[in-house]
Amino acid sequence: MSLNKIEAAQGWRIRSTQDFAGGLFMIGLAALALFLARDLPLGTLRQIGPGMLPKSIAVICAALGALLSLNAMRYKGEKLSGWSWRGVFFVLGAAVVFGLTIRGFEIGPLKVPQLGMLVSGPLVVFIAGLAAEDVRLKELAIFAVAMTTACALLFKYALSLPIPLAPWLLGI
């Protein structure tokens, strides 16, 4: 929006919090990339080294980010809108739980055995479902079991993907 709007405005202040934050976001990512790539050699144009592209792209990203932020101070644009933590927490949390439990994990003292899809499946459906504002627990619990059964039949038997079902109980 910002670049195309020909709204010459006087004075510098943040006129689009969305674009301004977007610019900072780009600069931040570029800085992270430059930090991570700090030890990679640049090489020469004849023989480009592993660091050349990441570093130069990061510099371009930072420049574009700066331009975006500056534009946000000159032209009007969208405002930042609210952020829903409920969705982020339950939906993404559900996926992480699935990843952690499907084949088990070990982080420090914490140890979870390989639980398989018969446990991870209902977990992912149930936890994710909590993100909805009109959640009904009983309905969700039944749905979680039904979906898992359907997925087990579909992916394990109809498509024979190598996904563990419940190794601790059934051995598959």
């Binding site: 371009i60 559900a94 499946g121 459906v125």
Partner: protein, 500 residues
């Protein structure tokens, strides 16, 4: 000409085996089934369903994938018409008039018109691919690293210009995609780049993981925020086949839409996205009574749907002939092909002619399947769409999780996808359009490789990109479209096209 028909004959002899027809059928069916879910576009659908093709032989797998692709496209249109939620950018236009038709009790006619228009466009596009496949493959053999690099630069410039919203923001996304593509082991020296010393990252970021996070999970988060946007049609579906007067009204828009979509689809840099928008604008411009548009005009469904399908199909041309995926969906196709040991590019046609032509023939069969299975099943899709979202998104999530896990049998991939979901949600909140980022990511590795090769050949001189005529021409086109897009008069027009 006769050679083309001989080739198509070979293709049909491959695609018409009982097994391959069955695969096309199943592909279309599950593709539509998943694609119908609101907020699940073709990219997420294909990423989710990729694993189910792993057990097949390469030809069968690609035929099934093509079926899934068309199914997902059509499923997206169904959702757009019935629920007013576009599964992806290209079906935005269909929601305008399609959903209005549905509200007036003509949902069936809208769906039928969309299917017939897509089928017609698919038939034409199949012939276009068959006709252009051979000559473009010959052209591709003239391409050295410098030409490939310039072509990809041009593709990215197109992607910037064709993206919705601010050009500057689209630029940011392209560069971010390129930056993400450099994560992982360096091709030449084997040094790890920006991996945090974390072993699963040393192969780079998996495309399916990134796509699923940004287009699957982030989309769920976005939809959870706007529950009121869902508006499932309660009115009757009505009859499916358009009447004679509908056909007369829709015929020319379909033909024009097909032409527009087919041409734009060939462009590298996601030209296919522009097809439906362009078609809609054209139809509105030349209509006798433009005020009907937005209130259920059948031309507003027929033209863009034809353009959408034609573009979706001709987008295979840059992939199959040059080995360059023009958009994110095609990038997933690259992933699928590589899993089966096929590296897309000019050599596919000469080395695996049965695969190349079989796939082209199966495109036509896939379109036919859509017509045959989708129209009778419309009732089923409507039932599916009436499932409340509070149950639908957990189902989407378990499919996504199992799908992502199965791509590499890596549990950590699922967690990564969640991370990219968060990233995608952040991008949405910051007003960035993620599609150009995916394209930058897809082309990034190949661009770096070609750039390095070109500079080694030219001994470090950038002049090589300008001295070689084809490369110079491509770069000139890239600069020209950027300049045109940035001109004030043009940028106003561009905004008009996208806001309509």
């Amino acid at each position: 000409m006769s050679e083309m028909f001989a080739n198509l004959g070979l293709g049909f002899s491959v695609a018409l085996s009982f097994q391959n027809i069955a695969l096309a059928f199943v592909g279309c069916l599950v593709g539509t089934l998943v694609g119908v879910l609101p907020g699940v576009g073709p990219i997420a659908t294909i990423a989710m369903l990729l694993p189910i093709t792993f057990g097949l032989d390469p030809v069968g797998a690609l035929i099934m994938l093509a079926g899934i692709y068309y199914g997902a496209q059509y499923g997206g249109s169904t959702t757009a018409i019935l629920v007013n939620i576009p599964g992806e950018a290209t079906s935005v236009v269909t929601t305008l008039d399609g959903h209005q038709m549905a509200r007036q009790g003509r949902a069936g006619v809208a769906l039928g018109t969309a299917a017939l228009a897509s089928f017609f466009a698919g038939c034409v596009a199949t012939v276009v691919i068959a006709a252009l496949g051979a000559p473009l493959t010959k052209l591709a053999l003239l391409f050295g690293p410098a030409e490939y690099f310039s072509l990809m630069v041009m593709g990215l410039c197109f992607a910037v210009v064709l993206a919705r919203g601010s050009i500057l923001k689209a630029f940011c996304m392209i560069m971010l995609g390129l930056l993400l593509s450099t994560v992982g082991t360096d091709l030449e020296t084997g040094q790890e780049r920006m991996t945090f010393g974390f072993p699963p990252l040393s192969d780079g970021i998996d495309f399916a993981v990134l796509a699923m996070g940004v287009f699957g999970f982030a989309e769920v988060l976005r939809n959870l925020e706007n529950p009121e946007a869902r508006d499932v049609v309660r009115a009757k579906i009505g009859r499916l086949l358009p009447g004679w007067s509908d056909i007369k009204q829709a015929a020319m828009p379909v033909v024009r839409g097909t032409g527009i979509g087919a041409i734009l689809g060939i462009l590298p840099g996601n030209g296919a996205v522009l097809g439906p928008f362009a078609s809609y604008t054209v139809e509105k411009k030349i209509a006798k009574d433009p005020s009907r548009f937005g209130k259920g005009a059948i031309e507003g469904v027929a033209g863009p749907e034809a353009a959408n399908n034609a573009g979706a199909q001709t987008a295979f041309i840059p992939l199959l002939t040059l080995g360059i995926p023009p958009n994110a969906v095609m990038a997933l196709m690259v992933g699928a092909m590589t899993i089966h040991g096929i590296i897309p590019g000019p050599q596919v046609m000469t080395k695996n002619p049965d695969l190349f032509w079989g796939m082209i023939a199966s495109m036509w069969i896939g379109n036919l399947m859509l017509l045959v299975i989708n129209l009778p099943l419309v009732g089923l899709w409507v039932k599916l769409l009436q499932v409340p979202y509070r149950l639908m998104f957990p189902a989407i999530l378990i499919f996504c999780s199992i799908g992502i896990y199965s791509v590499n049998n890596q549990p950590v991939d699922v967690a990564f996808t969640a991370l990219f979901g968060l990233f995608g949600y952040l991008l949405i909140k910051l007003g960035f359009e993620p599609a150009p980022m995916l394209l930058g990511f897809v082309l990034g590795k190949l661009m770096e490789e070609k750039l390095r090769q070109a500079l080694i050949i030219s001994r470090g001189s950038f002049m090589t990109f300008i001295e070689r005529p084809i490369s110079a021409g491509l770069l000139l086109v890239a600069v020209a479209i950027l300049v045109i897009a940035l001109m004030p008069a043009m940028s106003k027009k561009r905004e008009e096209v996208f806001t309509e």
